[in-house]
């Protein structure tokens, strides 16, 4: 049950912040989708929107935290260059993966995609949280705005899902220790 500092940060990055966003996405998307004036009373809509606002800002903060802990805390350990003459690369995940042709693609495709696409998620999630907060209950009557918000939110989810999926696979192949 023991984990070192690096492993704890990796868990915080992926299994806390990233997971919160992935877990919360479908509920939030449905909440925005179902925000339709014909389905809700004005009072009901106000209450629903208040909850959705908190929920969306929570998800946006969580995904910002996921990318910052990932890029600025965990990633330096992943990409650290081993000292000259190191033969045991198990604590240098990037070098470990690149040393073998059968695992190199985990870095060259998986990690390269993950580390870049992930940054689209907090940007898109923040936009979604802002637009829903700005319009409030009025969003129920704005079909185009709701559609745009949902597309941004789905892209945020895709970016997070790619990052999360490759994060899990790469950790299986070469964990940050």
């Amino acid at each position: 049950m023991e984990m070192n500092t690096r492993e704890i940060w990796t868990v915080v990055h992926g299994m806390v912040f990233g997971f919160i966003f992935l877990l919360g996405f479908s509920g939030a998307l449905y909440a925005v989708y179902s925000l339709k004036s014909e389905r809700l009373t004005i009072e009901g809509m106000k209450k629903t929107v208040s909850i959705i606002k908190v929920y969306l800002w929570g998800l946006a903060i969580s995904v910002w935290a996921a990318v910052f802990t990932g890029a600025w805390v965990v990633y330096p350990w992943y990409r650290a260059t081993p000292p000259e003459g190191t033969t045991d690369l198990s604590t240098f995940p990037r070098s470990f993966l690149l040393a073998n042709e059968s695992t190199a693609q985990w870095h060259e495709f998986g990690m390269e995609w993950k580390e870049h696409v992930a940054f689209l998620a907090p940007i898109a999630a923040t936009v979604v949280a802002f637009v829903v907060s700005y319009y409030g209950p009025q969003l129920a009557r704005k079909v185009g705005e709701r559609r745009a918000v949902m597309i941004f939110f789905i892209v945020a989810f895709i970016a997070t899902a790619v990052a999360g999926m490759f994060g899990a696979f790469i950790t299986k192949a070469a964990a940050v220790r």
Partner: protein, 113 residues
Amino acid sequence: MAKEMNDKVNGPAAAALLAGGIGSAAMGLITLIYELDDKSGFSKSMTWYKPVGGLSGKSSWAIIIFFVSWAILHFVWKDKDTNFARVSSLAIALLFVGLIGTFPPVWHLLKGS
């Protein structure tokens, strides 16, 4: 109640969406330019923090561009109604530029490798 449900101008929402698109496209394009020649002066200038490497500059620029463009667009459009369909279509297109630019096979395709 009727007053509360009066239509708000769409400028602030349009500004946020377009800024999101611009920030995403910035991430995609900066990443693409970097990956096409990671030895260039531009690519070297992306290393803001050595342990994080080029990702430090690429991601920081994208975030700065997102927030600065949002602030500017919000200031310009805060009291205005924009052509929302056009602005949101552009924002979504830019969002997809971000997705394409961060996809490694696209770098390899353009590099011819």
